[in-house]
């Protein structure tokens, strides 16, 4: 029987919703236990939140000053020590946190990793995208080995946090940690808007916006809709918005109920990031733009006229 260990992602004392998405994936594996490991300087709050997620068997916490920031070189040896001989699967979210950390854990355990699970076909068989999502492969991992994997956020809903109160167990991990890696700073885009990766609605702007000043009309529409703001790589590269707003193959893979693409052509690398959106709306002046191939509703015209109109109309 499978025993699954999920590594909690958290920042500033808040559990990231990616953890509850991993739980949903883990439930598909039909395990006898789904435990969540919280590594933090002070794991109490995050651990308590993790214990509420329906489906979680037990929460393990490891408090250590070195865990104040999510440095893979610090966390990986602790995770490997917890996982060794005790778990069949180690799951992490396919966010920059999990992508950075999971392969380090896998290599310490001497096993392969499955990146970006999008469906579970069995305890050791999974579907995952390759070639920017242009092909979906089924991969089988050896059943006699531990498996480390990352879970594609957009493929899994967050497990509910309603009725559960899983026991919380504090671990004392006696693992030597390196001093070769030091955290300096994290510069976060300050925003009261919803988080791009969790938002039900997203409005994204592309190169066509032309300047960061012009991006204001995207923010105005997003505010009206209670939406998060995203962007194409071209818009990020041009400096209109910060890099953490990038949607796509090398940015964030998202699955909002509503995605509004404004002045975005729809390059394959961008579409990879929005395939799982519920409804896609595209506003573009070019009738031939590939974004219209995937849009549920397409509107042809000048965004500088249409976006303010739309903002007024939804108000």
């Amino acid at each position: 029987m499978s025993k699954i260990l999920i590594i909690a992602e958290h920042l500033d004392g808040k559990l990231n919703t990616s953890t509850a998405r991993c739980v949903t994936c883990a439930r598909d594996i039909k395990a006898e236990a789904i435990d969540v490991l919280v590594l933090a300087a002070d794991p109490a709050g995050v651990g308590a939140d993790a214990a509420k997620i329906d489906g979680v068997t037990k929460v393990l916490t490891a408090a250590r000053a070195e865990n104040a920031h999510a440095l893979a070189a610090m966390l990986a040896p602790q995770i490997a020590a917890v996982a060794k001989n005790s778990y069949t699967h180690v799951l992490l979210p396919s966010t920059t946190f999990g992508k950075d950390l999971a392969p380090r854990v896998a290599a310490l355990l001497g096993v392969a990793q499955v990146s970006d699970i999008m469906a579970v076909d069995g305890a050791h068989a999974f579907k995952r995208p390759i070639y920017a999502g242009n092909a979906i492969v089924t991969v089988e991992a050896p059943p006699n080995e531990q498996l480390v994997a990352t879970v594609r956020n957009a493929s899994y809903a967050t497990a509910s946090s309603a009725a559960n109160a899983a026991p919380i167990e504090a671990l004392a991990l006696d693992v030597a940690l390196p001093t070769h890696t030091r955290f300096i700073e994290l510069v976060q885009g300050k925003s009261d808007r919803p988080d791009l990766q969790a938002a039900a609605r997203v409005v994204s702007g592309g190169r066509a916006l032309g300047s960061s000043d012009n991006f204001k009309i995207i923010y105005a529409l997003a505010d009206k809709l209670g939406a998060a703001v995203g962007a194409s790589r071209a818009a990020v590269d041009a400096g209109y918005v910060p890099s953490d707003l990038q949607v796509g193959q090398t940015g964030k893979i998202i699955a909002p109920d509503l995605y509004v693409a404004v002045g975005i052509s729809g390059a394959i690398q961008h579409l990879t990031g929005i395939k799982d959106a519920g409804t896609i709306v595209a506003i573009n002046k070019d009738t031939e733009a590939p974004i219209f191939e995937v849009a549920d509703f397409g509107l042809v015209g000048d965004l500088f006229k249409l976006v303010p109109e739309l903002t007024a109309a939804v108000g």
Binding site: P103, A106, A135, H180, R182, F183, I268, V281, V300
Partner: protein, 248 residues
């Protein structure tokens, strides 16, 4: 200081990959092959560090089939001093790639190993992190800025929350993100010069690497297609369409 750069050949990023009708693989016959875009960025960064006097030698390493020669020459034309070609006919998985790269690291003793953050064929995003773990050295993934100060590197990383800066002691593994730099174009005289640069050829089998190809791919399928939607004529029609779907 030497810099070792991972330089993988992949299907060009402009090619829209098709799955074979029988689900046994993707169609790669006759498609354009290029350097993994992230590896071009990694190489460019290594060259800039050499131009700044931080590095003395840049070595590109390719693990791939014997016919990858032209690809390797490209890396040399871009400016690498020399190349190591680890020959294998198999498309190896990241754990094997990391184990093979570790052998090269042990032989060359580089101060920095610069890889791409992900190969755009398998989209694994694993090799650099695995190599760092096996080597027991620091990793700085998704780098958008690298500053070398003596025996340490200050690296700004593109993470979901924003930009994180960490400091790592060298030697270390750094993986390149898209905004680290813009790779230079190769000029004709450089292609001529590259012809005389050394390529060391090794057989993967001779490196003594234990296989980490633990995953079996049993089926390839095209992605689920989104239904093509409808064009609306104006904002009013869009708003009512969204309202009728319960989205507004």
């Amino acid at each position: 200081m030497k810099i070792l750069v991972g330089y993988k050949r992949v299907v060009d990023y402009n090619v829209r990959i098709q799955v074979k009708p029988d689900g046994s693989g993707v169609i790669t016959d006759g498609v354009k092959l290029s350097a993994n875009p992230f590896d071009d960025i990694a190489l460019e960064e290594a060259l800039r560090l050499r131009e700044k006097g931080v590095a003395t030698e840049v070595i590109v390493a390719t693990i791939g089939p014997a016919d990858a020669q032209a690809h390797i020459r490209n890396g040399l034309a871009m400016g690498a001093n020399r190349a190591i070609h680890v020959v294998t006919t198999d498309a190896i998985q990241p754990l094997t790639a990391a184990r093979a790269l570790l052998k090269l690291v042990e032989k060359e003793q580089p101060g920095i190993v610069l890889l791409g953050k992900q190969a755009i064929d398998d989209d694994c995003n694993q090799t650099g992190q695995m190599l760092a773990a096996l080597w027991d050295r620091p990793q700085a993934t998704f780098a958008s800025k690298i500053e070398i100060n003596g025996n340490a590197a200050k690296v700004t990383r593109e993470v979901d929350a924003g930009l994180e800066t960490i400091e790592v002691d060298l030697p270390a593994v750094i993986t390149a993100d898209l905004r680290l730099n813009e790779p230079r174009f190769i000029k004709l005289p450089d292609i001529m010069k590259a012809k005389s640069k050394p390529i060391e050829t090794l057989q993967l089998a001779d490196l003594g690497v234990e296989s980490g190809d633990h995953l079996k791919t049993t089926r390839y399928a095209p992605p689920a297609k989104r239904q093509k939607g409808v064009m609306v004529k104006d904002v009013a029609e869009l708003v009512s369409a969204l309202k009728s779907k319960g989205l507004l």
